[in-house]
Symmetry: C2
Subunit: 531 residues, 2 copies
């Protein structure tokens, strides 16, 4: 196609939402009308499925759950018995945050809360982190910090930097089931730090969890400051507009009503049962075309805006955890998914775009363009050219260079980064994932593969307990194979080795004797023996 | 293979460097001895090429350059005329940093420098960012901030947060050529902020650039505080052990001698011309096996340690910019490369590991394990189990779960995160990339594809200047096509549209008239007309 034909294609396929000031351009995806027409029946089904989901069907059959994140933005659509819960919860969050900001709720030993420490992982961290980075002002009412892992050194770093302000720090612990080990561990480490300083943890702690969960029980027993519900029908990776995202965003002074309104407006737009007029359908269509409905191409997400740096990491979870499935809904083995990565432009042009432009063509790109460069006017870097013009030029130039080299791309354009547009972006990709899942016939709302690693870890920790018990009760060094035998794991020498190697590095009394480069010849001893 | 056979394979292939306390385990890559033997001749060539490179051969033929980042760690290996430059530069950095820390060099209006603002992009940012995050203490002697883009809003955020400390902020501007637009723009924006506060920018500014570059000239004319050289024979993505990385690391109080020593030790180990005893060769072998020498599998890098979060982003550049090439060294079209992504474990297990475990099998994983959980002892979360045990268990469990599902992985294990081990990790992957490049016969040291996007951007900015000139001299609104014709770009209506849309959003006098959803029907006006 020559440039004028491409311009016509741009016009033909451009989606524009006036209300949101949002454009979606799929003109640089190389599908043709015939191919689109052949997919119409699949889309008709997807629109129907999505409609049923919004009516409260069991859209997550494995877990026998409704999927209701769309109701959070428009409670009138929710089943009658849920509507009030949604509305009341938002009111409750606002009332709580208002009191925190004004000092009506305050910590025992400080006039006001100054910091928020958010403990949570996965869906309980990525949304809040993305929204914080995108939308918090340069000097928000409270400073936020995240513990999103069970890494002791990482926890220590956060707690050490906060040590002089723990007494004025509000701790939010977020876990839907209340049993996520990383979150439970983080909470216990934080609690320990409070106790070390003689502070009352409960007076600083807020739970975000499902009613009836272990954490709900703990919170009640210990009398925490507050609790906000996670709903059974909201999954972790679509929980940004539930208590998970709204509480921390409100605390940071972000206008959550605008975020909800943006998402609601996008939800409305993405209900349109016509591909060309539905931006989520256009995205799903493009993804399907790029990867042949099998994820054959990676999705490289490059927002040209520093504040959207975490968008690709957020989408990594939303897309990969939703679509990356072994079985389809009929039980066939399909190994679906789409790999997602990216950081930000034009920075990435100085990192991996060399490969995108010239190297292996195993991807398609999603550019996110923000029209407003900054709040206010810019200095000129060269006559009639600003820093923002360069950013704009690099985006357009890269899009063009990729296209000329037969690499497809999508461009999403928003007027500026606001709570409204960020809410709309989240809703746009949520719906695109939902539609794409129907096209490829997978359950987008469960994550069965996450359990395998957890189970294996549980087995390992069980083995560790046995090893420590044996070592403590033996009064001489053991050969590795001998130790494995004694704990009833003769076939698990590698695991036994890994466990004692890790214990030996962490002041746990275990000492390894011999040449560390020859693990099978190591002796394992316990401290009381060595001393 | 059963678990005992796997244990034997683990022992057979385990690489251990006692000096560094570093293990490399490739036992979960499914190659066999016969396949390895068939590759021996290719490796023999790679070892020879690497040797020639270290002797000063023109290893980057397109740019007619030597490739000398290995000399930075062992100046005795450098050509005689370069040795002194390396040694003297390190001395100079140390002397400068010592004076900054002690106040011997101080800003005009403050007793001491309190902050560092690093302006640079790509290789001039990713290394310093990674090393800062990995190694800086919780309270370093100076706080560091980065401007690594030409995003006006991103620049404003950094400068606004720093506004009360600009007078005690040291600005490092890093650009090898001195002509990188993003860095030049960032520098001008920062300079403008200094001028707005009536501060003398030059008295706060340090240049890191090549002698004779535009920035070198500017620095001399304006009399900046200091300048440190970038050497012609060090590429951006391998510049962490040059002035680029050493200056900022030293300012943060990081022991750069230990970092260099760790890299030197690894360099020594990776010169061994025997695959099984050379960890970089083992990595390159594994990558080659995973992707069939064509990058058919993505490389997913998951360090189980918060402080190593940016390692995958650092490797994204190192690997993708080095290997992602259209042509091989003989001019054949090959479209090489390996896509890299990842964040950290176990956090990623709650994000995209669902897809890794069950979904599309288009990747191999590299786990990075750190044996020491934290500095000091841990509380018990459950009897005999700590937070760190969980982290360890999740890594081992995920490795096992992936393997059982026929997904291969590599595990790199270090004793702890120190300047020495971080230096070793950088050197390990640098050499692995160099060896792999020889295996697939590409130039790992140039980046020709980066130019295409830049050129297209330059053309666009040229078009913008013409558009503004025409609009300023016309006294009535123009149709889009008319405007395109007037600037001599009748075939570039799309570009013209994008330019005026961007200008209209940024207080540049341009106004778009009509329905924004129908770009071809828009009128374009200039402010003076509208008023």
């Amino acid at each position: 196609m020559n440039t004028l034909e491409l311009w016509q294609r741009y016009l033909d396929w451009l989606y524009f939402n006036e209300d949101l000031g949002l454009y979606l351009d799929v003109s640089r995806m190389r599908f043709d009308d015939e191919w689109v027409a052949a997919l119409e029946p699949k889309f008709a089904q997807a629109f129907k499925d999505m409609d049923a989901l919004e009516q409260g069907a069991i859209a997550n059959p494995d877990e026998n759950r409704m999927v209701g994140h769309y109701w959070l933005r428009d409670p009138d659509l929710a089943p009658a018995e849920l509507k009030n819960e949604i509305v009341e919860n938002l009111d409750k969050i606002e009332a709580f945050v208002g009191k925190i900001h004004k000092g009506g709720i305050r910590p025992p030993r400080a006039p006001k809360f100054t910091d928020v420490l958010s403990v949570g992982i996965g869906g309980s961290a990525l949304g809040p982190q993305f929204v914080d980075e995108a939308l918090a002002s340069d000097f928000p009412p409270l400073a936020i910090h995240f513990i999103d892992n069970t890494d002791p050194a990482g926890i220590d770093r956060i707690l050490n930097r906060l040590k002089d302000r723990l007494s004025s720090t509000l701790v939010i612990v977020t876990s839907k089931s209340g049993g996520t080990p990383e979150t439970r561990n983080g909470m216990m480490e934080v609690k320990h730090a409070y106790e070390q300083q003689g502070l009352d943890f409960a007076a600083h702690a807020v739970a975000v969890t499902m009613l009836g969960s272990k954490m709900d029980e703990l919170e009640r027993n210990e009398g925490w400051l507050a609790e906000f519900p996670m709903f059974d029908w909201v999954g972790g990776r679509t929980s940004e507009m539930s208590s998970v995202g709204l509480l921390s965003a409100s605390l940071l002074g972000i206008d959550v009503h605008a975020m909800l309104a943006g998402a609601k407006t996008m939800d409305l737009a993405t209900r349109t049962p016509e591909i060309k007029r539905n931006p989520a359908a256009l995205l799903a269509l493009s993804w399907y075309h790029a990867g042949n409905g099998k994820g054959e191409k990676d999705m490289v997400v490059i927002p040209y805006k520093d504040s959207l740096l975490l968008f690709s990491r957020y989408l990594q979870q939303l897309v990969m955890e939703s679509l990356g499935k072994e079985k389809d809904l009929d039980g066939n083995t399909v190994h679906q998914g789409i790999a997602v990565y990216g950081n930000k432009g034009s920075t990435d042009q100085h990192a991996f775009v060399q490969q995108l432009r010239e190297g292996i063509a195993n991807f398609f790109a999603i550019f996110v363009e923000v029209l407003e460069d900054r709040n206010g006017a810019s200095i000129e870097i060269e006559p009639d050219v600003t820093s923002g013009d360069f950013l704009f030029g690099f985006l357009q130039g890269t899009r063009q260079a990729l296209y000329e080299n037969h690499r497809d791309s999508i461009t999403v354009t928003i007027a500026k980064v606001t709570p409204r547009t960020v809410g709309a972006l989240i809703a746009l990709f949520e719906r695109a994932v939902g539609i794409y899942a129907t096209l490829v016939n997978v359950n987008a709302y469960h994550q069965p593969g996450v359990e395998a690693g957890k189970k294996a870890a549980g087995t390992l920790l069980g083995l560790q307990r046995k090893i420590l018990a044996v070592l403590k009760s033996t009064n001489q060094p053991l050969e590795l194979a001998e130790l494995a035998e004694k704990v009833g794991a003769s076939d698990q020498v590698e695991q036994v080795y890994k466990i004692v190697r890790h214990l030996a590095a962490n002041q746990r009394g275990v000492v390894l004797l011999g040449d560390h480069g020859k693990p099978d010849q190591l002796g394992v001893s316990y401290k009381s023996l060595v001393n």
